[in-house]
Symmetry: D2
Subunit: 141 residues, 4 copies
């Protein structure tokens, strides 16, 4: 594993949709994980790649995902997910994310994904070096 | 904080719905957080309480939520969420969850919630002692 | 097409989860379509069948789905979806649904599904007679 | 009611997210209703208004929503929702939507919303004339 502390991070802009709120009047907490994933996939596209293709034999399931909530998001809030390549091993990529609305930090999260051959059962496989290089470059712009 | 290692945990049974799967053929990872929340709220009901009421002034947003994924869930899988009161402070409750399908562990997660007066802004408030007592009792059955 | 007006309908019981509500304090309207689908799939199981299997070559996408909303659903409401086989053609099945909470009608909906070979592109195929017979029987209990 | 056949419609651009697909490899049908709603709310913003505000006393629940599915959407597909003001009554607005991906029609839908004072119970109220005028103008650009 190496830490990629130099990366500025890739920025993904988004606006809160009505169906993402709950009866407490704020965004339901489960959406933060979806926002992080949307940013991850946008980073792949910015790197000229696609994390999934219809009918493909490989996939990138989660090993873990966590989020610390600092401030709530409200309907129509415009926010950004800043996603960095946080660490890499032979078969896994760890992304570190910060969600911000202007100067306000909404929260921070970490997701670790593993490269697998689809199952059942899923089988972890090596990550081509080129993928890590492209993602790191795209997240430093 | 105290750890409640004696609790067997409250068991919440559930079946995977089609709309919870994704194109990788397995349950989308964001659903694990919803499954944990469903179990938490079922525990509240088992304790004779309701975590939310229409028009109420207080709420229980997340401070943090994490999940470690061990095995995937598939469409129509029957599984259980075992939820325990893991730790309690004056204003927070931490739940520890294990999701199992028969003898297979799907994953383990932790959620910390804080008692607040609804905002904006949200303001943390004390948890009535009775709530903790009832939840602990209901999760030991 | 024939109308199956004699069918009492298959009853699927459900409780509203917190993550299904929105900031208006009621269940987000998009969930009614998911509730109808859950009931449809429970009917298939009651008929001893599974509407989908991992890796299968055929599928049942929607041709149309509509819902008329009479009364809102709230958090923790217990409700039932009553689903009937409403009409059948060589390649399609139409389900008629009523969602009720006790004596209150939440709304009524209709979904038409088509049997296809997965694509791309999707290709409509004939429905085995046995499937219709089993579903009709299971929805008359 | 009057039909607004002259309106070109307001165009809302969107890309399919991974979490919106299901195990059949296509966008889960329930998302079409959310896409229509996102377009409706974007139209309100284009008209200089907001369909909902935190803590507001009024709301716009659905009376009905239907969708006819012509072609499936896949992960990362870029598509547009074209939304028109289709009909207006004293307390309701009907939107007609077409979802397109390039030259391919994904489907067409209709949503009728009613202006209400929040409950329980919900109570239908008149729509200010200015709202209809602004929406009609914004959807003709």
């Amino acid at each position: 594993m190496f830490s990629d502390t130099l990366s500025d991070g890739f920025r993904y802009a988004r606006q809160v949709q009505f169906g993402e709120t709950d009866m407490a009047g704020i965004v339901h907490f489960s959406w933060m994980y979806r926002y992080m994933e949307e940013a991850e996939h946008a980073l792949w596209r910015a790197a000229g790649m696609h994390i999934a293709r219809f009918g493909e034999e490989t996939s990138w399931p989660r090993l873990s995902a966590s989020f610390d909530f600092k401030n709530p998001l409200y309907f129509e809030d415009e926010f950004e997910v800043v996603v960095k390549i946080d660490a890499v091993s032979r078969r896994t990529i760890r992304y570190a994310c910060t969600i911000v609305r202007g100067d306000t930090t909404i929260g921070t999260g970490v997701m670790t994904t593993v490269h697998v051959r689809k199952g059942p059962p899923l089988k972890a496989i090596e990550i081509p070096e080129e993928i890590v290089r492209k993602l790191t470059e795209a997240s430093q712009k």
